[in-house]
Symmetry: C2
Subunit: 190 residues, 2 copies
């Protein structure tokens, strides 16, 4: 069974004009994606930001939910958030995965528009199984992952297209994460 990891990247990201930026962490991204990762059996959810004040903000949010009071009120939330790891950059996330002893993770990147595509979630799952490697699903914020992340990827995932006849596919990163987590999970039953 493939070990699954997810990384939400806040740097390096592009803005609307394609310029390199760092985005802010949002509370809803922390919670929603943690719950999707937890539901679909992911090992960890890496929140990638080099900004120390942002890292401290995440720690404060997680600290709240780690309190006895919050845990009594909503133990399911605390359980999901315990899967979060805050890292400076993708290499730190990759390093933490390698320390688990199952080799270097396959890096899979996502985008709403992708120039060069390696395949869909089914092919990605098969590739990870054949190679017997952990899989790191990388999602961007803002207007998407910077080319320097896309270029180092092992696998460029096909964007999520629905049945909107004009090809509209502007999902939130939280929704895209839920759909990718569900599709990459070993048994997604509903």
């Amino acid at each position: 069974m493939t070990q699954l990891y997810l990384a939400l990247v806040h740097h390096p990201i592009v803005n609307k004009r394609g310029e390199l930026i760092t985005t802010s962490v949002t509370n809803m991204d922390i919670h929603d994606i943690a719950r999707s990762c937890r539901t679909f059996g992911f090992e960890n959810y890496f929140i990638v930001t080099p900004l120390k004040p942002q890292q401290e903000l995440i720690s404060r949010i997680l600290g709240h939910w780690n309190s006895d009071l919050a845990n009594d009120y909503n133990p399911d939330r605390q359980s999901a958030l315990s899967y979060i790891r805050v890292v400076d950059d993708l290499d730190q996330a990759i390093g933490q995965i390698e320390q688990r002893g199952n080799g270097r993770p396959l890096l899979a990147v996502t985008a709403a528009q992708m120039k060069q595509i390696d395949g869909g979630t089914q092919q990605l799952r098969e590739m990870a199984q054949v190679d017997n490697r952990p899989l790191l699903l990388i999602l961007g914020t803002g207007w998407g992952l910077h080319p320097q992340v896309l270029e180092r990827a092992d696998f460029r995932l096909k964007p999520i297209y629905g049945s909107a006849q004009d090809g509209y596919n502007h999902l939130s990163v939280r929704s895209a994460a839920a759909l990718y987590c569900g599709a990459l999970s070993e048994e997604s039953l509903f």
Copy 2:
């Protein structure tokens, strides 16, 4: 092809203790679910709340995105939000769907825990196709839909379970909406 609709219910809802409550509308629920509905070809996204101040709040948010400035900056967002209809209760939503002339919609309800289950998304799609009826997918907020909504449903959907070995399935309503929209869509390709 089945006409798909989604309703996000803020009343009648239950709280943690199973009591009848009305929840507040949240900005993120408006945006994320509108974008999922738009991506997966849903006809409308009904936001159900009987509270006039809440309805006005939604109108103000939609009004902002309907401005020329916002539309120039992010036309995709405006396009998704134009699918939203604000209604007092489920019956108003059902009435609006009936006015489209394709009959009374099949009412499908969702919950993280469901005592009695009629089937999964595949069976629901087949049922709607056989009956040739529109389909209204009903999602709750808070701690879930009140029994009075569950009891009037035509179809109680199987909860979304992932591969978490302990059966954890506490997704956000935004994530659950994305997954259900994707699964009910005619062609969900990714």
